[in-house]
Symmetry: C2
Subunit: 432 residues, 2 copies
């Protein structure tokens, strides 16, 4: 049973505010352990990696090489069912064509004064993509991270994946191969992040690390941030479905469960203007739970963090949605455009009853790496922009320097920076 | 005396590699202290802020209000010399007109299949700008942070500034007023970052925090990252000047010193193809040092981290510059465009001998908040993009869902996500 919040009831604001700040994850304090691992990998390189991989993942590099071989990748491609391979190809093509539109353009121009200004974009030279192990080792995530990097023009893309006992999910290897990524290492956890950031004898360092991971990976990313770039610290994910009564309750229930089955800390929220519809969805959730392989996870998520929010008019859902700032927002209403304009905070919006969020997870073309846990208030999903950087350009001639110089000198002097003032004054033959 | 590295000499690669990894700052481990302060501010709000401000900055909120008053801001504008105010206005206008060009455009389209896709940009609702106190309290930095936020359309911009004894640099207040920022709090350090991230009775929380600060501020930003967005963890800054022998050595020396005077951990590097010119610059540095107010700082920076790198041909400077990935790169050479194309890693490039980096600090129009300490390999200077976020949009009708649905189901099944598969299958009347 999810909680119910009725906007018409007294105390709604208080309950909604409390709901918003509910912590869905216990943040383990693993900083001390992580720091020690990072320091150790920096100091001892491959030897440290070998020890950690043996200890945590049961991989012995004496028998299974750290780097996945070309033969292994080719064998994985063979092992993946053709239906899945075809779906991965379709997904890769669609992701690529959408992300090509995100490539920023250089902007080099001269202003009225004759000053040359500009922004020039270049690709990051090398990036590392962390792929979680176990059940969260998703080939779709490989595409969602690697394709934008490829489109951006990144020269070297490296994958690190923990491989319990040595085995890597063949679909992950096949997805990597599809995008042309063949530098894949069997290493996970904080040690993988350290190796990517600082390099070891085998793994050359990268300039940026993307991809989700457990508490150790997240802490390690936070720690190396600055030495390398990172994408985001991913938190528990969520879906918000705004639905009117004209929906099939089973469709909406399935969408809520698609979110809930990810993790016990996932969150699925329904906002509707019809209590009977809300009840019907809730019943459908209970019914569908019975036939899910991940029923236990989904049930716990729905029980602990699921919510049905009742509003008098769907327009009232807009400010609530902006405060929730959901990773995924479905607008399953008759006139979605009436709501769309007011939505400011959301990772991705799925419009109309025929756009289940799951399409965006795989084959829509947009990215499924999205800001979670209310971070859509200040951040965006993964895109080509995460794999490029901008250099700004300034070009003055003697005349422009004469025009702008005195103002620069005045500010430098006021900030107490003599040498700053002089570097302009000396070119204008002014005393400084 | 800076160090000399000659590319023609044996062992150059080894020396250059060591030079690149030289640590210029002792990173104090202040995490435990910072975490305690953050927890305390979250728990006790204003009361905690008052205690920390009294303890660290000698401000008693019983006598000086936490929030700077409108009268105080107006008085500050009056107190700033008109020459400085005029320069700030010129700078603000130029920064605004350059940054307007960075506003990203929405991209909403339909693909061949009839799938609606899109990227929609919206401004972050509220941002906090941290302004350091003391000698590093720069009005120019207020403009460089606040103007892009304003251009982006941020509704609420807040400034936090430590005010030792209660006084805030009038030029900082004047710069804020120029941009229309009037919500300014006298609070600094980790406690300011905590207040901005989590809010107190007086300070409503923001969604993103930008601006430089000391080790405590940096650690606090790293800690709250995820709860709010942050810009970057700023490290010690640097300039790389590539200059041929036809330059005036005094001009180049002044540019190197303009960087060196910032901080003892700043770095100024000259690459030239003429040893005699390098010597002449070095002599000019020594000469000019004698008449700088911040001579001690500049001399220490030049002595400890300054470098002259000799190359046989200026073309050879390109790969070195890309490895250094300088925050500021001056191309003071006869044909700068010959080098420009090859530069991939730099925060900002200043072209030609009449574009000293200092112009970019103040009135060029480009942003002076730039990636330091080699982070130009993976990140960009501050821009309008730092104050907006992107929501992706997906819209399918029944026909598009029929076309794409089966591939999504295949991938969901292969990833073991039943409810994902069902959320598509149920809409297509398929058994799942």
């Amino acid at each position: 049973m999810a909680i119910w919040l009725d906007q018409a009831s007294e105390g709604f604001e208080q309950h909604f505010a409390a709901f918003l700040t509910t912590k869905r994850e216990v943040s383990e304090d693993v900083n001390i352990v992580v720091r020690a691992i990072i320091d150790d990998v920096r100091a001892r390189g491959d030897v440290a990696l070998a020890e950690y991989s043996l200890k945590f993942d049961g991989i012995d590099y004496a028998t299974v090489p750290m780097r996945v071989t070309a033969e292994e990748i080719d064998a994985a491609v063979e092992a993946v069912p053709s239906e899945v391979l075809g779906a991965l190809k379709l997904a890769a093509l669609r992701i690529e064509s959408h992300h090509r539109r995100q490539l920023p353009k250089d902007d080099i121009y001269e202003d009225d004064m004759g000053v040359g200004l500009g922004s020039r974009w270049t690709a990051i030279e090398a990036v590392g993509l962390y792929v979680p192990g176990g059940t969260a080792s998703y080939p779709s995530s490989v595409l969602m991270n690697a394709v934008p990097a490829k489109v951006a023009g990144v020269d070297r893309i490296v994958i690190a994946v923990p491989a319990t006992g040595g085995a890597v999910n063949p679909a992950v290897l096949a997805a990597a191969k599809l995008v042309g990524v063949t530098e894949i290492y069997r290493v996970g956890g904080a040690q993988a992040i350290a190796a990517l950031a600082y390099g070891t004898e085998t793994i050359a360092p990268v300039a940026k690390i993307t991809g989700p991971g457990n508490a150790y990976v997240a802490a390690a990313k936070r720690h190396v941030f600055g030495t390398v770039g990172i994408d985001m610290i991913a938190g528990p994910s969520e879906v918000l479905v705004i639905a009117d009564k004209d929906n099939n309750p089973d469709w909406i229930a399935a969408d809520l469960l698609a979110q809930a089955e990810h993790d016990v800390s996932s969150q699925a929220i329904l906002i509707t203007d019809d209590a009977a519809f809300g009840k019907a969805v809730e019943q459908a959730v209970e019914r569908q739970l019975k036939t899910l392989n991940r029923a236990e996870t989904a049930a716990a998520s729905w029980r602990d963090f699921g919510a049905v929010i009742l509003v008098a008019d769907l327009k009232q859902a807009i400010p609530l949605a902006n405060r929730i700032a959901a990773e995924h927002l479905e607008l399953a209403v008759a006139d979605p455009d009436r709501l769309l304009d007011g939505i400011r905070n959301a990772g991705a919006i799925f419009i109309g009853a025929h756009t289940p969020e799951v399409i965006g997870d795989y084959v829509g073309g947009s990215n499924h790496v999205l800001p979670t846990a209310r971070s859509a208030r200040f951040s965006s999903g993964l895109s080509v922009l995460d794999f490029v950087k901008r250099t700004s350009i300034l070009r003055l001639g003697p005349q422009q320097l004469r025009t702008l110089g005195p103002a620069a000198i005045a500010l430098a002097v006021s900030e107490g920076l003599d040498a700053h003032a002089r570097s302009v004054a000396i070119r204008l033959n002014l005393e400084r």
